[in-house]
Symmetry: C2
Subunit: 207 residues, 2 copies
Amino acid sequence: MIRVFIVDDHPVVIEGIHSLLQNEKDIAWVGQAMNAQSCLGFFVNNTADVVLMDISMPGMEGVELCAVMKEKYPGIMILGLSTFNQGLYIKKMVENGASGYILKNSSKEELIDAIHAVHEGHIYFSGEVGMALQEYQKSSKTELPVLTSREKEILALIAEGYTNPQIAEKIFLSPFTIDSHRKNLLAKLAVKNTASLIRLAVEKKLI
Amino acid sequence: MIRVFIVDDHPVVIEGIHSLLQNEKDIAWVGQAMNAQSCLGFFVNNTADVVLMDISMPGMEGVELCAVMKEKYPGIMILGLSTFNQGLYIKKMVENGASGYILKNSSKEELIDAIHAVHEGHIYFSGEVGMALQEYQKSSKTELPVLTSREKEILALIAEGYTNPQIAEKIFLSPFTIDSHRKNLLAKLAVKNTASLIRLAVEKKLI
DNA sequence: CAACCTATCACCTGAAACAGTGATTCGGCC
DNA sequence: GGCCGAATCACTGTTTCAGGTGATAGGTTG
């Protein structure tokens, strides 16, 4: 028997999901909350196996609530729930401990599949969400200028915290050369200092 | 009928999985490869629905092969397959387009569940893998010194590419003050220059 | 072969970052 | 009330970075 709790600020959604799950033999409805506070209040004296959680709520964001819940009760599996279908949000939810993510307009079957999957400890994304996530990952990589292998090498060393003289010594080149490559990196990636350079490099996974 | 292809450099694994899937009514075994080249060769004139792919292969890494395959044939779903259970690899696979990840010692049921899930476009991780992934995400956040709100604010502005004088002007403080905060950031995070600072900040998601 | 890109090296100047030291104010806490 | 940390400001050096400009050598390719 899987004990399910739901957090959503839309009563309609709570009702809808409640009725969808009503006749499921192995799913028990243990409670509901319309905001983060009352959700946290519930879990002081109660528990659940799976929490369906809206990511867009007033006050505390779903993302934050997710992190707090996982911190306090690591055993409770969280299934993200939203009308949104945006890669960024989904990624953040997973980074904060959610075990899955489905859209509110999912079919009954999808909902129940997802609840079972996360309850068993799996990570599960419904089809549409999975697509969006991969699309997002993809888009965050494209449209980048091509760096030469030397440039990538030096970029990596800069990111490691080495200065130009140190890099020069390390790879047996003149400090002037390192400086040239560094300037080319700034120009190619259209940034104006080391800080933006490294940020871009890490975010676009160039290193 | 789901057409399954497998890439793995261990014949034993290919055989094992072949026999596991042999009696499945809705799964068709369309071929196998023991390295990235022969895999790519196969898909020139053939296709499949799901590719089971080892992530640790000699020559081209599974991670790279995954990226190439997804680039050429976005419709083919890739299911990572390994004896490893390390968050970093798993994350990289997903970033490169894999739709799921299971361990080679998974049960028959898990394997078949996973194939169905990714075929339907879902993203799916088996229990052990999901745990490892979340554990990894978690570990990448802990053990960090506490930054004050001012420090976080200035860190964010540095990451945006602003210099000390610019930040000073922006938040109405003396450039000396910004410099102090900056030094505190370097000290607290135990790094020695902007490059390492920003790298750490992005990787640990401080900004 | 000429055009082009890469990788290399060089110099100069000004701006920014880093290192060290120290001081004041303000608020929270025992 | 005294202690502590956060936040602010200040000065002085030294090192590093950024911008500009230019040169040479080697490989690719039309």
